[in-house]
Symmetry: C2
């Protein structure tokens, strides 16, 4: 079989008749397909674009073919084989005479569908159904189907579409997976070879090169978790087929187990079940998506890692495959263990050295604190102009947010469910993120091609129990301005939870520097005397996303510590920023809300605070985000609703210019030094410095010192 | 004992040593109190106002006294009795010489606290602790405590505070409960008599009169569920004491079981665990509040209704009382049943004829559809100017919302946690609700005293499986304008779920009529060509709440059907309004967002749509809210995102002027007549009318007819 061993098939057939979650899923699926059996077969002439009638019918058909194949495999009931035969025969009668799709999309149209991507998906699923029933068909039935649809479709997707087939891109993965899987089912080793190594079999194109280039060594996919999850499915399905049919290729061991890393990394780029909303992410996608159900199911078969079962349990979807049976039985036995979410830097780029997505996690519970430091490269067309931005999660929710994509998927009234114009005009722009904007212009001047050329450099990451730090540099986002950012998440012995965020800017000439923090929650108060726009408010700017923000209030920061406290659910958050520069500067705090220049209400009316300064030379934004207190509306008490940060400074030390030391004073006489030795090379290297006449040590790159 | 029979005490003592939720709670409480035992006794001289140090210490002390009493009762360990003796002795030494509290609040100051309300609470709790341990004290210890604190405090709260003690108000309930409970414990029948019938024992004041007047016959408390829950506690505790000590008074049978009705009504004025957010409600309060834990516990003891146990299960708090033990044991045995939430009109006023809160519920599941039609009277000082407003809940969430109170309880930065100025300037105003505003002026010109004089008249309510209707009239909210509203919730056999809302206005002279719908969710689209405020936006008005709304967009309604579709979680909602008047009118649709004139960000940036018309004479706003479709971001499909309402009209019938008929056409040729016979007196009365040559019948007041 294409996706399982004969032994697995026998076990599945046995399990289908015994109580358990596998047979429950089998029965559910059977009632759905039995209902479909009552309907006439419907194979319309291709006419409509994505979302349209014929598009949806052909999508439904390939799912039906696959599902009916599973049912035949499990039950051996002829009606399912007949159904597949009849549908595929209808396709076989239509396909050879089809021209390119009338609504062909851009460079790579299909015949059944407007783009060849959908055509490849049709083949990936349909070939699985055919694989399950082909032994039940006569030779002439098989010939008709294979010659009528599979052979010409394979030809169209491979030899006739080299620009897609040989492309190192997830569309290419769907194409090679389709052709390769068809190769196994139709016994055409040549197709498999082309799928693995490109049309010319040189290895310049094909699946192996995709495995080499589309994931970093840590299994990070350049476009981020939302697209990683999407790209995962053809990788996993085709690899599974290779593994079953040619185990000697050791596909899952390839590149130090890159496929399994891609699966676990997809899981790990999530918080409380939802993917980090970076780049063009739609934020209600999470680890229960079908692509990751396949990923987790296959990964459990390969590794037996019981942490994967806890993900499968959340997914709550059993696959009717051999690997699906293993997961179902393990869950029935209650074997799941907590998935080991940990702090990690997910290197970006083929060699993992083109920046990284750095994930700092405080502990293992599902509502733990998580800081995501986005020091990745651009992420191609779905990337945002957000170098060295950050996100913060607590208590199960996104607190410091990334807007994600401006898109209402499949909602026709919203531009047909496509990316909205506001995705470019707002969501991708730098001001929509939590990072530096110079002169109201986005990174790389908002040019993706330019952005793809550069990447941040991660200077170090260090993860200790009470202090986790990452530092990265960005040289090329602006012509005249470079910046370096330090993110430290602290969980102190004294019970304080806070983040220290240091943005060091070097500006050649005077520039306007904006540093936004987009937060979810209700504003409580601020240390700044804000002048609110009470009866009229205006858009903050004209371009680069600024035109979509209402300026709600603005105030000059008097004592150089701009604090804003807000409440989200039951927790208070206080964000404080101090700005220093070579020449004495004053800075402004602005409160803004999304929604200007949005006549169709395409944007969500979220909010942000923005610290703004005009300065030149070395400028430092030194910020602290405190997580504090509790609001309990039900039991009517409120604890620690006020920030306990008293002062915050970049402190001069008496010696040693290579260390950076920040002093934080809290109430109750709790003071810390956050000391950083950026250049330390080993975790146990010790760097000495003296402060106020005392000597201190930094072990490794970073140390939190209680004074 | 004050709160339980001797038999109950024995059962509690036995249960405390056996496994179960009662003993778990006992052990939890014991560890908390044992920790407190290590601390020195702290009875400071009264100095601070509510929320301040001495205020909080005295509050903690009375809770400690009560809890330690419970522990002594259960364990008979002397240390708990000693603790109570020592604390109360300290109070006894201080109290006699106390002047009025230095921060005395308004008319009714206390001595320990700034208001006598807190003093009464101190006594209600402390007397329970003393009751539990008094047998363990010597006569001289008892004399000292009783003469030092209880006697003078009772005297102060009763004879010396007639204005509070005899007041028919929840502050009066606390006072009589405190004095009456002390009367039982100190064996002073005179105190009990005064508590029950007023200082002069005439019955003009006191608990019985409060029972007569503070609840409607259906157990509705005039200020709404948020304050009903607050008022409930002294009622329940004192009644329980009366019931235990003088069962012959049959206190729980009084006024047809009014106390039990007050408890169940409090439960029923909630959705998905949270109270309806009407009037000055803080919207995170729900059925798990401690007041209702007492209510449910006592009610279960009196009634044995197993539906109450499902509420107790949600509350997840066991009381260490005799009744608490019964609940604990019943929960341990899994006896809980679904609480029977049903459609009901909760009459307002002493006789239940001063309007009603009409609750329409679609079914029994926790995410069912619920429509709340607020046809109540004003609700005193905590009432809002919201005659004939409505709220709608679906899928576990509030969809058409009431803003509730503008207040962050106990959050010091927000005006000390008190009601914010915006509670008066926005939250109470009519425009903050889903009802008619005339000429940008609130009902009763925003005058509570004026509002208290009038109430709506409920014309009928009728609850059938597929159609639930309520109609009410409001004559006196404006001098020149009267209005009548019809709310019908439909769950049709064809699977359509919608609300028909008919607002019939009679305006003497031309007036501007605004009808807002405050909705939670993301705007999707509208049938109206809106001109959005893209680069500048202004406040909608100057006064009466209008100054707090940003006008985001405005459009003239062209085909007389102003539809707005929004998405909340996974469901779409479409609200359509048609306006007709004697003279042909055109109306406008406005989109507004809360937040103007709010320099301290005290308001939550919620949104509304407003239909506006200038007209005179008879004007009708005919609206439909459809609940439709599904957005599934995780599985990437969207169903029925478009409204299926095709047309909507107030239809002329061929005969019979006493019926009102509305015709609704949906897609797929589904058409309904909603036919109303307002004057029908009985549910089985039949009213005939003819339409398009056919004859139809209305059974009772309302009929939904599929055409």
């Amino acid at each position: 079989m294409l996706l399982e061993s004969n032994e697995q098939v026998e076990q599945m057939q046995a399990a289908a008749t015994k109580p358990g979650s596998f047979s429950r899923e089998f029965e559910n699926r059977r009632s759905a397909i039995d209902a479909a059996l009552m309907q006439p077969i419907n194979v319309p002439l291709p006419a409509d674009a994505g979302g349209g009638y014929t598009h949806e019918v052909h999508k439904k058909n390939y799912a039906l073919i696959r599902d009916a194949g599973r049912l035949y495999l499990l039950s051996q009931e002829k009606k399912y084989a007949d159904l597949i035969r009849d549908i595929l025969t209808a396709y076989a009668e239509m396909y050879p005479s089809l021209p390119l799709h009338p609504k062909q999309k851009e460079q790579s149209p299909g015949k059944l569908f407007w783009q060849s991507l959908n055509e490849a998906m049709w083949l990936v699923y349909s070939i699985q159904g055919y694989d399950a029933v082909k032994e039940a068909l006569t030779q002439s039935e098989r010939d008709k189907i294979e010659n009528g649809v599979f052979l010409p479709m394979v030809k169209y997707l491979s030899d006739e579409s080299p620009q897609t087939f040989d492309k190192i891109h997830n569309h290419g993965t769907w194409a090679v997976a389709a052709v390769g899987m068809a190769g196994y089912v139709l016994d055409k080793p040549e197709w498999v070879e082309k799928s693995l190594y490109g049309l010319d079999k040189s290895g310049k194109g094909g699946f192996m090169r995709q495995l080499d280039e589309l994931f970093s060594p840590e299994g990070y996919y350049n476009e981020g978790p939302y697209y990683q999850r999407f790209a995962l499915l053809p990788f996993v399905m085709f690899a599974k087929a290779v593994d079953v049919n040619e185990p000697d290729r050791e596909i899952f061991e390839y590149r130090d187990g890159i496929l399994l890393k891609a699966i676990t990394t997809t899981i790990e780029l999530s918080y409380n079940g939802l993917f980090f909303g970076i780049n063009d992410a739609i934020k209600d996608k999470g680890i229960d998506t079908i692509e990751l159900v396949h990923g987790v199911t296959v990964a459990y078969n390969k590794t037996g890692e019981k942490g994967l079962l806890s993900i499968a349990k959340i997914q709550n979807q059993i696959l009717l495959t051999g690997d699906g049976l293993e997961v179902a039985q393990a869950l029935d036995e209650g074997l799941e263990e907590v998935y080991p979410f940990t702090s990690k830097a997910y290197g970006d780029g083929i060699s993992g050295d083109e920046g990284a997505l750095v994930v700092l996690r405080q502990n293992q519970s599902s509502d733990h604190q998580t800081l995501v430091f986005k020091a990745t490269s651009q992420g191609l067309g779905h990337g945002h102009f957000d170098k060295l931005s950050w996100l913060f999660f607590n208590d199960g929710k996104e607190i410091v947010y990334d807007y994600g994509a401006a898109r209402f998927l499949n909602v026709e009234a919203k531009y047909g469910g496509h990316y909205l114009a506001e995705n470019n005009s707002y969501a991708k722009q730098t001001i929509a993120h939590n990072t530096l904007v110079v002169d109201e212009i986005s990174h790389f001047n908002g040019n993706t091609k330019e952005g793809n050329k550069y990447h941040p450099e991660v200077i170090f990451t260090e993860f200790d129990e009470r202090l986790q730090v990452s530092v990265a540099n960005m040289q090329n986002a602006y012509k005249d301005v470079t910046f370096k950012r330090t993110q430290a998440m602290v969980n102190s012995e004294e019970g304080l939870i806070f983040i220290v965020d240091v943005l060091d800017v070097n500006a050649n000439g005077e520039h306007q520097l904006d540093l936004p923090v987009h937060f979810n929650g209700q504003f409580i108060d601020t240390s700044v005397d804000l002048a609110a726009q009470t009866t009229t408010q205006k858009a903050l700017g004209d371009n680069n996303g600024y035109q979509h923000l209402w300026l709600q209030a603005l105030g000059r920061v008097k004592n150089n510590l701009a604090r804003v406290t807000w409440l989200q659910d039951s927790t208070f958050y206080s964000h404080s920023t101090s700005v220093t520069a070579e020449k004495q500067v004053e800075h402004d705090l602005m409160m803004v809300r999304v929604g200007a220049n949005d006549p169709n209400f395409n944007l969500i009316a979220k909010q942000a605070l923005v610290n703004r300064v005009k300065a030149s030379g070395n400028v430092q934004f030194l910020s602290v985000l405190e997580v504090h207190g509790e609001y309990n509306g039900s039991r009517e008490y409120t604890l620690d609703s006020k920030s306990s940060l008293v002062s915050l400074e970049n402190t001069e030390v008496d010696s040693n210019e290579i260390v950076r030391v920040f002093k934080l004073d809290f109430t109750n006489d709790v003071s810390y030094l956050l000391a950083l030795a950026d250049d330390a090379k080993a975790h146990d290297q010790e760097t000495q410095f003296s402060y106020m006449g005392k000597t201190f040590l930094i072990k490794g790159n970073a140390q939190l010192i209680r004074l």
